[in-house]
């Protein structure tokens, strides 16, 4: 393998990997406040992309405004999801809530198919399609946007969780929910905020990915699964593990597709999940549950 193709695989792996990482972050945020896996996370990613296309055609406000509207609308979907489907049954067991999220994901997918059909849509690239050549590898500008925005979102989330009292309170809910309520943190409000935040992160991922890979009503299924695989890879509950897991998964896929066969590209994620679960169930960056008594 020469340097050019190495770079090429690396670039496309990092690009796709950042969107897996964003989806994985969405899983992590909700898991941390509620202890459930939100299987509608992929639908947030899909909604981000498809709503941006819809707003472009419907209102024609220009690309940045359409993107903003799509992200805001998806965040509201996250809010509605929590309000209408999670809060009414919040005392149910985690497994029941997880099944609720699967129901929500099927519903969102169905509604999108009803309104906008099964067509594939595309969004214009943020700054043209003229490729950049670098040491023999070809990188399209959208890849740089994806990487850049993913890094910015990650940095903002890090700041949010470690610097703001609201972010710390969200973490506190995951560490010790009973104590969180005793210091006056409204766990209900934090759960709502976590759904909005992960819908936001998912939508951003969807919007930046759509110019590159196109979108349709069912892209969320696979993206959600990849994001989940990234979570398991990085260690469930660890935001930076999730982001790193996404990047690693993206790179593995790119190299797998390039060196073995692109037919197996999607299988790689699931082989990775199986391998990790057998070899290190707490994930690469996870810490096994131990407690000092």
């Amino acid at each position: 393998m020469d340097l050019a193709s190495l770079l090429q695989f690396l670039a496309s792996g990092l690009t796709v990997g950042s969107t897996y990482g964003l989806a994985a972050l969405g899983f992590t945020i909700i898991f941390n406040t509620t202890g459930i896996i939100n299987f509608a996370q992929g639908e947030f990613v899909m909604l981000g992309g498809i709503l941006a296309v819809v707003f472009m055609h419907w209102l024609d406000p220009g690309l940045p405004a359409a993107i903003l509207l799509a992200v805001v609308a998806t965040t509201l979907v996250g809010l509605l999801m929590e309000r209408l489907t999670i809060r009414p049954v919040r005392n149910a067991s985690a497994i029941n809530l997880i099944i609720v999220t699967i129901g929500v994901s099927i519903t969102i997918r169905g509604l999108v198919m009803l309104f906008w059909g099964k067509d594939t849509y595309v969004l214009p690239a943020f700054s043209g399609m003229a490729p950049i050549h670098l040491l023999g590898a070809t990188i399209i500008p959208q890849s740089l946007w994806i990487l850049g925005i993913a890094v910015v979102v990650l940095a903002l989330l890090k700041g949010f969780f470690s610097r703001t009292i609201f972010g710390r309170a969200m973490l506190a809910c995951s560490f010790e929910p009973r104590a969180a309520r005793l210091v006056g943190i409204s766990v209900e409000r934090m759960v709502m905020a976590s759904f909005m935040l992960s819908a936001f992160v998912g939508a951003v991922g969807g919007v930046i990915l759509t110019p590159l890979t196109m979108t349709s009503y069912d892209v969320g299924v696979l993206l959600g699964m990849k994001g989940f695989a990234a979570c398991i890879l990085g260690g469930l509950g660890n935001p930076f593990g999730a982001a790193a897991g996404g990047l690693i998964l993206g790179i593995l896929e790119a190299f797998g597709a390039g060196l073995v066969s692109s037919a197996y590209k999607d299988a790689i994620a699931f082989v990775v999940i199986l391998g990790i679960l057998l070899w290190k169930p707490s994930g690469l960056f996870g810490v096994p549950d131990t407690e000092r008594v």
Binding site: L171, F175, R181, L182
Partner: protein
């Protein structure tokens, strides 16, 4: 200050607390003693609003708190130091204290909260030395201090303490109890103290209630309870002398 009247609590279909009435006056330390499963923790959980009573009423400072949500009860001035301390283990000591003041968050409060954190460090110097360390690395006694400090950060007028001496060496647990008295004397805090270790609890309390299987079976001043034969036999581990 705190008045409970005929409180009934069901905890997952078990009638855990039956028609309990008790009161705590301003500036008092009141001990609630009794064995495992007597309903003491359930009662504290309900006062803090994490459980709802199914009958009776709870009043704090004249305000009906029977149906208030936990965050409003903290805002009303009741803080709880929970059983097993429940510090936020992966977070730093300082962040734990900061979250204690969550109810009073806001830009204008920042300086005052920082100053109060320093006051907690003055009271518990070891917390100050370990302020950047994660709370999970602290010893049991230090975690108890942190849990008390965190509760104080909400600026409560009343403190509910659930088994502060649990799992601590006797000397440490006595030190914690001394701090409780100090808090009452220095800040006029009112304290409701739940303990299985009746000896220690009654030593610092003004009055006490004895709970058994969800009911209050005895009440009185600490001296009376310490001299009561049933209490001695059941909770103080003293054999009644032959007469």
């Amino acid at each position: 200050m705190l008045i409970l009247k005929n409180v009934d609590i069901f905890y997952s279909r078990v009638h855990a607390v039956r028609r309990v009435s008790l009161h705590v006056n301003q500036g008092e330390i009141v001990a609630l003693i009794g064995g495992n499963g007597a309903g003491k923790t359930t009662l504290l959980t309900t006062i803090s609003g994490l459980l709802r009573s199914s009958g009776g009423s709870l009043h704090f400072d004249g305000q009906d708190i029977t149906r208030l949500r936990p965050e409003h009860i903290v805002a009303a001035g009741i803080s709880q130091v929970p059983e097993r301390r429940l510090v936020f283990k992966p977070m730093s000591v300082e962040d734990n204290l900061l979250l204690g003041a969550y109810q009073r968050r806001g830009l204008k409060m920042r300086n005052q909260i920082q100053q109060e954190i320093r006051q907690v460090y003055e009271m518990f110097p070891v917390l100050g030395q370990r302020r950047k360390q994660s709370a999970g690395t602290l010893s049991g006694g230090e975690q108890q201090m942190l849990a008390i400090g965190r509760a104080l950060m909400a600026k409560p007028r009343m403190l509910l303490l659930d088994e502060p001496g649990m799992g601590l060496a006797p000397a440490l647990s006595q030190m914690i109890f001394r701090h409780v008295v100090e808090l009452r004397d220095a800040f006029g805090l009112t304290v409701l103290l739940v303990e299985q270790n009746a000896k220690c609890a009654l030593r610092i309390a003004n009055r006490g209630y004895v709970m058994e299987t969800g009911r209050i079976i005895l009440q009185g001043s600490s001296e009376e309870l310490q001299l009561n034969r049933d209490v001695q036999r059941a909770y103080l581990g003293r054999e009644v002398e032959q007469q």
